[in-house]
C-alpha cells in the first residue's frame, strides 16, 4: 500500500546547468524545492524559458546531453537519485516515474501496435510473462476509457484519434504502477472538448490510484481546473508556490500577479488587460500619423458593411494526374457581415473551418460556392489590385511570418512601394519607421533581420507590415496563440488600440473563448464548417443559445471557476 504521508516526490535545492560552448554556464533551474504527496496534482507553470520542462526532464532522466544536475537532491518514492552521475540510478524511469508527453501524434512509434508499446515496459520492468502483460494491458485500456479495448490493442497509432492516442500514452505511463507521473503539457495539442476529458482522466487516476502528478503547463485554466498545488517559475527559479486557490486568488510575488493578471478572463470583458504598458508618446504620435494617411479609406458611417459573406462554401480535394480524390467540404454555407470599425470574431475547435474562411476571404483559397462582397465589390478568383490592398492579414506563427532574408525595413516597405503609396524608396522607409513606432517598436528596429526579435516583437512587425498598404479590413488568424500569456496580453491591447486609433475593421479568428470575449464586438461560433450561433459577444457569453456554444463555454478551462465565479451558462 502507498504510504499516504511519505511524499512521492521531494526535490530539494535542485540546480540544473548547461555548460555553454563559450565556457559559461547556463543555469536552467536555480535551486528549487518541490514536494508532491500521493494523489496530489502539482502544477509547474511559467512562460517559455522558465525551466519548467527542464525539471520534468531531470525527473525522467531525459536531460539533453551537456545538461546535468549540478546540486540538490531528488527523492522519488523514498529512493534518491544519484547526483554524482546525474543519472537516476536506483530509480528506473518507466517503473518509478511515468511520462506523458505533449503531442500524442508523435510520442507513439508509428510502426508498432498499441499492445506492443503498452507491454514492452511491463516485460522489462515487472518481468511479466507476455500473457500476464497482455491481460494487464487490457485492464489499463479499460481504465483509461478506450472503447473496444480488445480490438484497439491490435491497432496501430494512426488508427486512433488524438484523444485516444493520449489515453494510450497515459496507459503506457501507468503500466508499471509508478507512484509519480510527469505530464509535460499533456493537453496542449488537444481540442477543448478532448482536453476536458483527458484532464478529468488524470484527476481520476490521481484520486483513485494515489499517483502523484507533476503537471508541467503554461495554461492557467488547466491549473485552475485540476491542480491541488501550483508552483510558478520564472527564469529557472521558483517565484511562488502554494495551494492552487491561494496562488490564483491572491498571488503575492509581483511576477505571479502579472502572470495571472495577463490571463484573459472568460467571464468579464476588460477595457485593457492589466499588463505593464509600454505605450509611449512616440507610439501615440505614430498612430495619429498612420491614421491621417489612412483617412481616405474611412468614408462612410459606422453601420456600413465592410465585408458581406453569403453561403460561402469551400472544398478541398487533392487532384493528381491519375485520380480524383474524395472531396472534403471544409466550409459549408457560411454567412456573416463585418461592419466598419468593428472586430468580428470567429471561434471554434481545430478543423471547424474558421481558418479556411479567413484564407478564402484573404484570397489564399478559392471558394467553391457562395459570394464574398468586400466594400461593394464581389470577390472572385482574380482580384483587383485595390481590393488586395485594402485586405491584409496577420498570421499565427510569428517565427515564420517574416522572411528571414529580408531586413525589417525592406519587408515593411515592399507592399508600400508595390502599391505606390510612397513616391520614393526613402519615403517608404520613412513610412516603415512610423509604422514600427506605431506598433511599439523603436524606429531603428528596421535595420535588423527577423531573427533579432522575440516572438511578440515579430508579431508586432507582422502587424506593421499588414498596416503598410493602409487596409480597411485586417484579418487576424490566431495572432496570439503561439505567444506567452503576458506577451499575448500586450498584443491584444495593441490590436485594440490600433482599431480605435487607426479606424480598422477586423476579422479575428481564435480557438480561445476568453481572447474572443476580450477582443470582439460580435462573434460567430463554428462547428464542422458551419456557423452554429452568431451574436453580440456579450449576449453570446451571457446567454448562449446553441447547445454546442454552451458545451464549449462549460468545457473551457478557466481560472474564474476556482475564484468562485460561475458562468451564466454553467
Amino acid at each position: 500500500m502507498t504510504d499516504t504521508t511519505r511524499p512521492v516526490l521531494d526535490i530539494r535545492n535542485l540546480r540544473v546547468e548547461y555548460p555553454l560552448a563559450n565556457g559559461n554556464t547556463l543555469v536552467a533551474v536555480k535551486d528549487i524545492d518541490l514536494m508532491i504527496r500521493p494523489g496530489e496534482i502539482h502544477a509547474l507553470v511559467g512562460e517559455s524559458g522558465a525551466g519548467k520542462t527542464t525539471v520534468g526532464n531531470a525527473l525522467m532522466g531525459l536531460l539533453q546531453a551537456p545538461g546535468k544536475i549540478a546540486a540538490g537532491s531528488i527523492v522519488i518514492a523514498g529512493k534518491e537519485i544519484n547526483l554524482r552521475t546525474g543519472r537516476t540510478e536506483g530509480i528506473v524511469p518507466g517503473r518509478d516515474v511515468g511520462a506523458i508527453f505533449q503531442d500524442p501524434m508523435t510520442s507513439l512509434n508509428p510502426l508498432f501496435t498499441v499492445e506492443s508499446q503498452l507491454c514492452e515496459g511491463m516485460l522489462t520492468h515487472l518481468k511479466l510473462s507476455s500473457r500476464e502483460a497482455k491481460a494487464r494491458a487490457l485492464d489499463l485500456m479499460k481504465a483509461v476509457g478506450i472503447p473496444e479495448p480488445e480490438r484497439r490493442l491490435g491497432s496501430y497509432p494512426h488508427q486512433l484519434s488524438g484523444g485516444q492516442r493520449q489515453r494510450v500514452v497515459i496507459a503506457t505511463a501507468l503500466a508499471c504502477n509508478p507512484q509519480l507521473i510527469v505530464a509535460d503539457e499533456p493537453t496542449t495539442a488537444l481540442d477543448v472538448s478532448v482536453q476536458a476529458q483527458i484532464l478529468k482522466l488524470i484527476r481520476d487516476l490521481a484520486d483513485e490510484r494515489g499517483v502523484g502528478v507533476l503537471l508541467v503547463t503554461h495554461n492557467m485554466g488547466v491549473v485552475a481546473e485540476i491542480a491541488d498545488r501550483v508552483t510558478i517559475m520564472q527564469n529557472g527559479a521558483v517565484v511562488e508556490s502554494g495551494s492552487t486557490r491561494e496562488v490564483l486568488t491572491a498571488p503575492k510575488a509581483p511576477y505571479a500577479r502579472t502572470l495571472i493578471g495577463a490571463v484573459p478572463p472568460i467571464d468579464v470583458r476588460l477595457e485593457r488587460l492589466p499588463v505593464p504598458s509600454e505605450e509611449t508618446q512616440v507610439a501615440l504620435d505614430a498612430r495619429a500619423s498612420v491614421r491621417r494617411k489612412n483617412a481616405k479609406s474611412e468614408t462612410g458611417n459606422r453601420d456600413d458593411m465592410v465585408l458581406s459573406v453569403r453561403d460561402l462554401a469551400v472544398e478541398y480535394g487533392a487532384r493528381s494526374l491519375f485520380r480524383k480524390a474524395s472531396v472534403f467540404k471544409a466550409v459549408k454555407g457560411v454567412s456573416f457581415d463585418v461592419r466598419r470599425g468593428e472586430i468580428f470574431g470567429l471561434v471554434g475547435e481545430s478543423g471547424c473551418g474558421k481558418t479556411t474562411v479567413a484564407n478564402t476571404i484573404a484570397g489564399l483559397v478559392t471558394q467553391s460556392g457562395g459570394s464574398i462582397n468586400f466594400q461593394g465589390t464581389a470577390l472572385g478568383g482574380r482580384r483587383e489590385k485595390s481590393v488586395r490592398q485594402s485586405l491584409q492579414m496577420v498570421f499565427q506563427d510569428p517565427y515564420s511570418a517574416l522572411n528571414p532574408r529580408l531586413r525589417i525595413n525592406a519587408a515593411i516597405a515592399e507592399p508600400i512601394l508595390f502599391y505606390k503609396l510612397a513616391s520614393s524608396a526613402d519615403e517608404a522607409r520613412q513610412d516603415a519607421k512610423t509604422l514600427l513606432e506605431a506598433v511599439g517598436l523603436p524606429a531603428d528596429a528596421g535595420t535588423r533581420f527577423a531573427h533579432a526579435f522575440s516572438g511578440g516583437q515579430r508579431q508586432r512587425i507582422a502587424i506593421a507590415r499588414a498596416l503598410g498598404p493602409r487596409p480597411s479590413l485586417l484579418i487576424c488568424d490566431e495572432p496570439t496563440s503561439a505567444l506567452d500569456v503576458s506577451v499575448q496580453a500586450q498584443l491584444l491591447n495593441l490590436l485594440k488600440d490600433l482599431r480605435d486609433l487607426a479606424g480598422l475593421s477586423m476579422l479575428f479568428i481564435s480557438h480561445d473563448l476568453a481572447v474572443i470575449r476580450q477582443m470582439c464586438d460580435r462573434v460567430a461560433v463554428m462547428k464542422a464548417g458551419e456557423i452554429v450561433e452568431l451574436a453580440d459577444t456579450e449576449t453570446l457569453f451571457t446567454a448562449p443559445k446553441h447547445e454546442y456554444t454552451r458545451e464549449l463555454l462549460r468545457l473551457a478551462p478557466s481560472v474564474e471557476r476556482i475564484l468562485g465565479r460561475e458562468l451564466a451558462s454553467a
Binding site: N22, R319, L364, Q392, L406, R465
Partner: protein, 298 residues
C-alpha cells in the same frame, strides 16, 4: 575571448585544406597553357624518344618529366593539366545547366502544385529512372551509328554536359520543390500573397533566397558527382576522345599499360582526379552539415 570565438567560427582544418587544394587546382586549370611545360596537342613539342619514362622520383626518371611520360612520349604533367581543365569545364557546365533547369522546374512545381506539379514530377521520375551513365552510353552509341567521327569529336563536350545534366536536374528539382512547398506554407509567403505580390516576384524575391543555400549545397556535392560521371564515361570510351583527353580518357589510355608495369600512366591522372573530387566532397559535406543537415545523404 575574441580569438577563441573566431577560432570556433572557422571551418575545420580538413575543409580549409580542401579549399586550398581546390583553389590551387582552379589556378592551374585557368593558367594551364602558361604553366604546362609543353602543349600536348602540339605534335612537334614531344618526341617518341621520351616515351614511357617513369616519374622523376623513381629510378630511371627524368627531371624534365616530374610525373613521367606516356606511351607517346608526352609529359604527364602537361597532359594531366589539360585533362583536368577539360574535366572541370565539363563538370561545371553540367552543374550549371542542371541547376538552372532544376531550380526553375522545382520552383514552378512547388509553387503552383496540383496538375503542374504532377506533370513535372512524373517527368522527373522517368528521367531519374535511367542512370546518367546508361543514358550517356546510349546517346554515345546512337551518335556513333548516326554521325561521322569529326562531328562527334566537335560535339563531345556538349553531348557530355547534356547527358549528365539531363539526369541530374531532377535532384535539384526535387529538393527545390520540397523546400518551396515548405516555404509557401510559411506565413511570410502567405503574407506576400495576401499583400498581392505577383507569383514570379514571390518566387524570386521571397522563396528563392531562402532555398538558395540548399541549392548551393547540392550544386557542390553534384559537382563532385558530375566530374566522376564524366570521368567514368570517358573511361568507358563514351566521353572525351583521346585527341582531347579528359582525366577519364587518360586513365582509359593508361589502363592498357597497367600489366606492362607502366602503372604511372593510369595512376597519376587517377590520383589527381580523386584529389579533386575529394576536395569538392569535403567542402560539400561541410556545407551540408552547416546549412542543411536534413538534406538527403548521397
Amino acid at each position: 575571448m575574441a580569438t577563441q570565438s573566431l577560432m570556433r567560427r572557422l571551418p575545420p582544418v580538413s575543409v580549409m585544406i580542401a579549399s586550398l587544394v581546390l583553389l590551387i587546382m582552379l589556378i592551374l586549370v585557368i593558367f594551364a597553357p602558361l604553366i604546362a611545360p609543353m602543349d600536348p596537342r602540339d605534335v612537334a613539342s614531344y618526341s617518341l624518344m621520351d616515351m614511357e619514362i617513369p616519374p622523376a622520383f623513381m629510378e630511371g626518371g627524368d627531371p624534365r618529366f616530374l610525373l613521367g611520360t606516356d606511351n607517346q612520349g608526352r609529359d604527364l604533367v602537361s597532359v594531366i593539366l589539360f585533362g583536368l581543365r577539360i574535366s572541370v569545364v565539363i563538370g561545371l557546365g553540367a552543374v550549371i545547366f542542371a541547376a538552372v533547369l532544376g531550380v526553375v522546374f522545382g520552383l514552378v512545381a512547388g509553387f503552383f502544385g496540383g496538375m503542374v506539379d504532377s506533370i513535372v514530377m512524373r517527368v522527373a521520375d522517368i528521367f531519374v529512372s535511367f542512370p546518367t551513365i546508361l543514358v550517356a552510353l546510349l546517346i554515345s552509341g546512337i551518335a556513333r551509328a548516326q554521325l561521322s567521327a569529326e562531328t562527334m569529336l566537335a560535339w563531345a563536350p556538349l553531348v557530355l554536359i547534356f547527358s549528365i545534366a539531363i539526369n541530374e536536374w531532377v535532384q535539384y528539382a526535387r529538393t527545390v520543390r520540397a523546400s518551396t512547398m515548405v516555404e509557401i506554407a510559411r506565413d511570410y509567403v502567405r503574407a506576400a500573397k495576401v499583400i498581392g505580390l505577383p507569383a514570379p516576384r514571390i518566387m524570386g524575391r521571397h522563396i528563392l533566397p531562402n532555398i538558395m543555400s540548399s541549392v548551393m549545397v547540392i550544386a557542390t556535392i553534384n559537382l563532385a558527382g558530375a566530374i566522376l560521371t564524366e570521368a567514368t564515361l570517358s573511361f568507358l570510351g563514351a566521353g572525351m576522345p583521346p585527341t582531347y583527353p579528359s582525366l577519364g580518357t587518360l586513365i582509359r589510355i593508361g589502363n592498357q599499360f597497367l600489366f606492362s608495369g607502366l602503372w604511372w600512366i593510369a595512376v597519376m591522372p587517377a590520383t589527381v582526379l580523386v584529389i579533386l573530387v575529394l576536395a569538392v566532397n569535403v567542402i560539400g559535406d561541410y556545407l551540408r552539415d552547416h546549412f542543411n543537415p536534413k538534406l538527403m545523404a548521397r
